[in-house]
């Protein structure tokens, strides 16, 4: 764990209606680093991201971005502190145009001139979206909608971006584009927290990974080391049940 971590979570527990799904999770993401969260369905990966983003009341523990605490903040406050989130389900507004969607990405910004400038910058990064600027977002392809979601997060110039299964439902070529975009974001010095079902792809794009099981982190290592770990191989083969007999905690 780097001292200069951009995203730092300590002893985070969270769940729905008093039932804890995620327990005692600590992790950190350094600038320019892609950290991948691995684990079976139901391991608590998506819940953890939602908890970081302030969507789950009753979350305990501490989360900070660049040493500024996110504890108790609403999603708007979390965004303004520098943490952006692309959820697994579609989050574009289907009957708003691409431009309106981008503007909504900067909803938390009060400075209209800055917002207009950031929209142009995001369009420079995603020329495909510029071609479709006046189109309704619902008419874009699945890959383009994903791009729009990622582009939209850039409007607030986040320090850390969390993406929940960004490649889901995309053709392999489009998934590659999404992953290369994620590497580009990291290259700009942003921290990336990635949840991805496809373990092989995820480890290829990540620097480091943690494995979650039953709401806890059971393993943490560099992506390269985990790629050759038997237990992860088992997970990646899609073996049912617990891949780890004894959690290290």
């Amino acid at each position: 764990m780097a001292e200069n971590a951009l995203l730092k979570a300590e002893a985070v527990s969270a769940g729905y209606g008093g039932r804890m799904i995620v327990e005692d999770v600590s992790l950190s993401v350094a600038p320019g680093e892609v950290l991948c969260l691995l684990g079976h369905n139901g391991a608590g990966k998506s819940t953890l991201l939602r908890a970081f983003f302030g969507l789950l009341p009753g979350r305990t523990g501490h989360v900070a971005v660049a040493d500024r605490s996110l504890d108790g903040l609403t999603p708007r406050g979390v965004l303004l502190t520098g943490l952006a989130y692309v959820p697994q389900e579609r989050s574009v507004f289907p009957k708003l145009t691409v431009r309106e969607n981008l503007r909504m990405g900067g909803y938390a910004l009060d400075d209209a001139a800055l917002l207009a400038r950031r929209v142009e910058q995001a369009l420079d990064v995603f020329p495909r979206l510029r071609e479709r600027i006046g189109q309704l977002a619902g008419t874009l392809s699945g890959g383009e909608q994903r791009m729009l979601e990622v582009a939209r997060t850039l409007l607030l110039d986040p320090r850390v971006v969390m993406l929940d299964e960004p490649s889901i439902g995309l053709a392999p070529r489009l998934a590659e584009q999404v992953f290369s975009t994620i590497r580009d974001l990291a290259a700009q010095g942003r921290g990336i927290l990635l949840v991805e079902q496809s373990v092989k792809r995820a480890l290829a794009v990540s620097d480091r990974a943690v494995v979650m099981e039953m709401g806890r982190i059971v393993l943490e290592d560099s992506a390269a080391a985990l790629a050759s770990d038997d237990r992860v191989a088992k997970l990646y083969m899609g073996a049912a049940g617990k891949a780890f007999d004894q959690p290290p905690r």
Partner: protein, 291 residues
């Protein structure tokens, strides 16, 4: 032809009233997905508040309308916080609560103002405007003009302002709205306030023509809903054109059929349209779509 033109203007006038009701219901439906059946009763309450201010306080129609708008926005805020917000997540109970509110509001009005119709003698109902060979009460033209202005203002707000775009964003994808930091609860309150303002204006405009009485909102509610269904559930342009169409159809039908038949004509038209286009004139045929 003259008779037709006269009835068309009358129809546009009543249609504008239906548009006030339809738009108000559509705003709340859009973000909360609740059909607020108390809307007709709130429309009626707007008429009473405007009448009371006009008769007992200011004797100024504009101030009376403004007062009704403010009062209803306040009532709407109380209802949103006290009735609808606690039932968030349970659509069925919210709809049932809105039906209960009809009884509460109507009976409260009867208890306070009595069951009889009240006069609302605004100058504009007596003054007439000569349009070629036809003459219309100023109030008729006022209703059409104010209706058009409100529709234009609402469109501009929804499409040209950040807050209005956010309102549309919430109606299309509430989870997506959370992700970009829109305060979804606040948009519910905003939609309620706009809806209440439209109800108050509608009631305050219709009152001077047809008197103010406890059931004055019932027919506009039914016809406004019919306009929504005709135009297509969830579509704002549909609600506008649907409401106007209902008004014009019922008014012009009286030229060829006895007046008693106008409701039959209206609802038969809707049945035929829905047989041909189940999604309404402007609705899109989609699943799980509330844009």
């Amino acid at each position: 032809m003259l008779a037709f033109a006269e009835q068309a203007v009358n129809g546009l006038m009543m249609g504008s009233i239906y548009v006030f009701v339809a738009l108000g219901m559509m705003l709340i439906y859009g973000v909360m997905h609740v059909l607020n059946f108390a809307h007709g009763a709130l429309f009626m309450l707007g008429g009473y508040v405007a009448q009371t201010i006009f008769m007992r306080v200011f004797d100024n129609y504009l101030l009376a309308v403004a007062g009704a708008v403010l009062f209803l926005i306040l009532i709407g805020a109380l209802l949103e916080r006290g009735v609808f917000a606690p039932l968030r997540g349970n659509l069925r109970n919210q709809v049932i609560a809105s039906l209960g509110l009809v009884l509460v509001i109507q009976n409260t009005v009867v208890a306070v103002f009595g069951p009889n119709a009240l006069q609302f003698p605004v100058q504009a109902t007596r003054a007439t405007v000569q349009l070629g060979p036809l003459s219309f009460a100023v109030q008729h033209l006022l209703i059409i003009a104010v209706g058009a202005a409100c529709v234009a203002a609402l469109f501009a707000f929804l499409h040209l302002t950040k807050l209005g775009t956010a309102l549309r964003a919430v109606s299309q994808n509430p989870r997506g709205a959370l992700v970009v930091g829109i305060d979804v609860e606040a948009t519910h309150k905003l939609a309620f306030a706009l809806s209440m303002a439209l109800a108050a204006i509608g009631g305050a405009l219709l009152g001077p023509l047809f008197l103010v009485f406890p059931q004055m909102g019932d027919l506009p509610l039914v016809k406004g809903l019919a306009g929504i269904v005709l135009g297509g559930m969830g579509s704002i342009p549909g609600a506008v054109l649907g409401g106007l169409a209902i008004g014009v159809i019922e008014a012009t039908s009286t030229l060829v059929l006895p007046t008693d038949w106008k409701d039959v004509v209206v609802f038969c038209t809707i049945v035929v349209v829905l047989l041909l286009r189940p999604q309404g004139l402007f609705g899109l045929r989609t699943r799980d779509d509330h844009g």
